[in-house]
Point group: D3
Chain length 315, copies 6
């Protein structure tokens, strides 16, 4: 058996389980109804057509369910498409579960929590430490499973926590290189910077933007949350204001969604560390899919560039 | 007597009261200390030099006090400058008061409050009405005296309230032209849109930006305040989210400080009405100072344009 | 019967009259000729396919004629498409007429003319009044039926006159708020600002750009017309120059087609009023089509934004 | 005697005639009035100070008059400044005249007219030829003496005609390389493209912008003039429209003042030829002033670049 | 017989030889394999479908071979498509050769070499002349057959040499108009400016970018080559540096690939001459395909403009 | 004694040694010559005026010499200025040396070399290692003393080597976080990326741009050097091309001087690490000069931002 849907080529026959990501109805040019399904496993996704779908089919196949599907991999407008021959819902006896079909961070959530907790122990500024503890406690469940984004980078289960932990590691090293850096402030900023995504995104698998996400966005959402947390915790040191500023400015520029640019050293560092980790995540995953001597596909969030993997990487 | 400092020309002798806006020390090229004062009345301001200032002078003349000053109006690098011959603090017996030297809105604050209150009475959506009442009550004193900005438009006492009232009048008329508009939403947005300036600006006369103003800015400040007000008032309808969005988006574009552009009809209208009233305020005040057939000075906040007053305006 | 083509869903059968907006021939992958028709009524338009079209069909079905058409509403690439079962030209006895199938301004042309005329009566500057009368007389017929644009806003019969009248109403109110405004100048600018479109656009239903429109554009066309009118009427006051400037600058910026930005107060106001009325026209029509709690389609001329209709709009 | 004011260095004594370009009054820090004069000859200009100026001095020394001046060349803020020791108006007996102090094109106006006329003879399209003759006749006097601009390029007497003649020569060569080019159209476009400057600029020596120049600009002015000329000459071929388009588009882009970009081959060529001749004029004059191995001053109209003159240019 | 593939319309039957530019396999929605061929002659190219292709077909038909093809010209998504009825490789006895199917410069390569050589004879600066000779000798074969680009302008056999020769002719004329220009420098810059393309592009017919082309680009490639040539020839005058600068800056701006803008007169001229010749090549070829009174297709490399051919061009 | 010139305030008397950075002559408004000196020590620099300078003074005081100077610190246009009372050249017996007056990296050059050498030992790719050794050997002397820039960041003795070593440390940590990174490639890129500055800058103390620096710039200079080194070392693996690409792209964008953006993972990382180290160097040095609760001066190379030092930094 092949490793996953991403490894099938035009002409192959596919016969295995997949997760339904989306299902929409259509009417073919011959007037007959059909279903367009987006099917996925951890290696990728494929558009599939169930021609001459019955009303029962339309009822049956819904987003977020597992199916057993058999069909031919064709090509349509330059992209692979699965022409379904047979399809049925997965059953208990099939021994497959949804979590096997969703991409996950390479580190489990217990370890991620442990690493975040360890960093919090290192903090000495009581205001910053209390603030961070408050949020970890409040959002622990979601924080450990949410993706960091809808697409582009860390867009998988536990992506947000994995992104935080990677950033904390970079921060730790930069602190040792630049001892002037306020470690507590930088750690607090990293842990909190994207928590607004827990309200901006609709969920864990196949997330979209909530109404609040569309009209306000994760940055102002989190600025407000910090203000309210400070009230609840009765903290009124300048740390609150600086933390709000760090969240507000972490996209770096007004055009990128930060109404104020970083105006505090640790805010600038937070922005740079976020940039590095997001870019490396995108780059590494794109390069993993190509052989030495080849270019990756275009990476939209990296100015549409295609990256080259040198031939001497083999050695 | 001339009408005010703005009407004095090079060569004139000035002998009257002025308000000290700022005072800074310097040392002249001959090694002697001097004072640079910015002096103002309601018509404008002038830089003044008190050469060979004594340590007593340096102590005595401070920002926000009234002085009687006599001197010659010279020109330095193309701008008028007052060479002080004599200067003394104003005394009780002089019969002058600070409020006579600060520019004020053309309508008194009682009338402004009345007009805002009247509009609130017209509102029928209880969530929006309660929210607006809450803020008017909380900030009434400052709201009625604050300027709307540090410079450019409505930068005078009661400028903020005057700006709100003008915008409400425009809103009322546009509502009658476009009946689809949600009047309550638009009114609430107008009344609240700039209240964050009460925290962004340091005060009423000669205001500067507070630390919170520099690091967060009046838009996120007010978004947070609305969230907290909703908690206090236990309002949780969609009105809260929409109001926050209106505040957030009222500058129209990311580059202008709004991380989300207007995505609700009344948010778009709020942005446009704000634009019109701010521009008309700048334009009318600049054109007032020139004769028909002349151009105004460059207006920085209007893309540095100089505006022309047609000759037939005389008729 | 459903209200119009825009209200039909995939799977519905359509059987009614429509106006042919465009007709083009094609050859199907089976080698057989077919016709692609764009059919419309006042609610919208739909692409329709007449498969296996005969040479007679190709001759018969032309742009700007009414047809009776029966067929199924399918979906093709995410958009509805009508698969024609039968089609025939409308006949005199069908009792339908083209004007019923074209969108029109919500006010009839007599009323529009009346409202414009009323405003002209209010003008007191003889040069401006004569100029405006001259153009109203010269272009009255076209002015009352032309659209204001090919697409985006007021793109329907009498759209131009309706846009003018709406703008005049806004102008009247702003004059009362800002008494410094020169009413006559602003009224004249509004009435004349887009008259160049009578030469820029090819006609009333389904207009395209004329050669003059493509190579010169409505702004320089109208600047020239005002110059010639002034010659004909022997007016040579500064009003002519200022009016030409208002037309020239009414798009606000060089990038938007105005080689000079507004440099006269009423020119700036003209630009702002034009902006408000165009945007409100687009917004109101887009929001009318969606339910509370939904977003509109993307509005190209409003930076591709999708607007939200709050749920509390129902109340 | 040195060749001209541009060749004097700090420390030199100047004692010769100069033309007053501008005169403004000031008051020195010692309270005494002084005059700031801008004095020029064909090599350049210098700011001059007449300290302790009498009221008679202020009356006497006016723009556009010749003076005999003696003084020291100092330096003020990095720029040379003339400290006047003595100054008097030039007298008839001094044998100097204004035209000796203004820069002129290197070719006399009779020759320029001859070269333009010769080109007109070569034209065969009667509509284009008549149009060009009409304008040459109408504006002959001004056309032969006006500068092509207020500053940057060809900003000297007969600069406009000289610019036209240079462009015609380039056009002639490009026509021979690219025979598809419509020679008559290109010639007509070149001759007429900047004639609007005769209304945009106030005069020949020390020109500024007229009100019409500021509010309308030379491009729309000339588009209108061509329309009126066509009416007068009863020409209504497509040539009129194309010529208007060429004028309208000759700055190449909206941001540079052309509401339509070139959409006809000869319009594109006109834009490119204009660019080359303007740039070469600026470059050659700037390089003339420096030695091999040196950089020119910053050229504002060439993106503020400084150009290098290679050392091997000496050979 | 029609003149070439570009002149066939939908509905025509094509039966002639064509060159295979590219061949890719696909699987139709009925599950059967097919071939998509891009076929071309000197007038243009067409996409062709060979439905139900056999494995032998897939082997047989490859890029860069000549085929005899018969089929119907259909339309698919608004573009012509050839539905192949029969296809076979061309044979020796068919009397056709590849060079007849590739577009070539309008001048043969011997003449181009002669014209370049002639210019080199005119050069008097020994360093520049030796440098140019070195490269002409080194790259003569490729230089005379390479295209100047992959698309947009001079994208045909000998396009590079033809572009050089056209530019040299313009240079010669501009030298006579502006005698200050250093002829040798300008000639050398023109001849060498695009030689880096011999390494940037993969070949002559259907060229693509090499890895070196993608990662370095023709400009830095050629800067390096000049440095190495100077070493080989033991030239160390300033000419080397200036030539490198001319190559480096010839795209005019950083955004267009020149890290330094032109800072030497001849570098600026090189950029302008390159611009003119590239634009005229694009424009003339696009206008050649349309009739008077029509617009060309959109020209991507000319800001997507469509150009108009005036009706009086017929005369 | 105060610590250095940067710590003197207006009104203080300065009496100590300083290094002359620049000396220029002027003539005062009283007609007398004066000298403007820029004097510096490791803490900063100050403009100084020697009024009524004799011709001997003008001869004597030159750039790059040490002087003993006494005078008063005044203020001129908001900046401190030293009014010289007495000045004399430093003598051997004064026991001061130039190196004490120039800012240096905080690590000595032996240590820097050691750290670079250590990294080279870790490299295993022979092509990359040989290339790096070649350049370290070729440029060792200059590399260890040159600044990394003329201003903004690491603009002090050994700044370049210090910048390289800091970047190597960051690289080492990122390699451990992202094991996919090719360590040898990244190290080689970091060590070589700015070596072109050794030709771009004129020297160590008070450096300016060389002609080669102005016309070519350090990026293409180094691309060429790598090509030549590869020839000398007879290396022709893909490593050469990739290294050249890394140098070429390390500024990240065309507008910032890189004609190709990073298209290899390690090239992107090189760009990001360069950014972090340059920014941290600027930020730390600016923040060092201010107290908690204050803002820094505007940092030109960081978009003119002023950074805030939080009050809780004291704790």
């Amino acid at each position: 058996m092949k490793k996953g849907i991403a490894f099938y080529n035009v002409g192959d026959v596919f016969d295995h389980f997949l997760l339904v990501k989306a299902a929409t109805k259509g009417v073919a040019s011959n007037g007959k109804p059909f279903l367009t399904l987006i099917l996925k496993d951890t290696t990728g996704e494929i558009e599939a057509k169930l021609w001459e779908a019955t009303p029962e089919d339309e009822e049956l196949f819904q987003s977020e369910m597992l199916v057993r599907v058999m069909g031919d991999v064709n090509q349509f407008r330059g992209r692979p498409q699965l022409k379904i021959q047979s399809i049925r819902p997965a059953q208990a006896t099939d021994g497959v579960q949804i979590s096997d079909f969703i991409e996950k961070a390479p580190v489990d959530k217990e370890t991620l929590l442990e690493q975040i907790t360890e960093i919090i122990f290192e903090m000495v500024n009581p205001n910053l430490q209390r603030m961070v503890r408050y949020f970890i406690k409040k959002y622990q469940d979601d924080l450990l499973v949410y993706p960091a984004a809808v697409k582009n980078h860390h867009e998988y289960v536990s992506g947000l926590a994995y992104h935080i932990v990677s950033m904390l590691r970079i921060a730790k090293e930069l602190k040792s290189l630049y001892p002037e850096v306020n470690k507590d402030l930088l750690y607090a900023g990293i842990i909190l910077h994207d928590l607004g995504k827990l309200k901006e995104l609709s969920g864990i698998s196949a997330p979209s933007y909530t109404l609040e996400g569309k009209l306000i966005g994760h940055i102002p959402i989190m600025v407000e949350e910090i203000g309210q947390a400070a009230k609840d915790l009765q903290i009124d040191g300048e740390e609150v204001l600086i933390l709000q500023h760090m969240i507000l400015s972490h996209h770096g520029k007004a055009e990128w969604g930060s109404p104020k640019p970083p105006l505090v050293r640790e805010a600038e560092l937070l922005h740079l560390i976020d940039l590095i980790d997001a870019k490396m995540n995108m780059l590494n995953r794109a390069l993993e899919k190509v052989n030495p001597g080849e270019f990756t596909e275009r990476l939209f969030a990296m100015e549409n560039r295609q990256f080259y993997k040198p031939t001497f990487e083999e050695k």
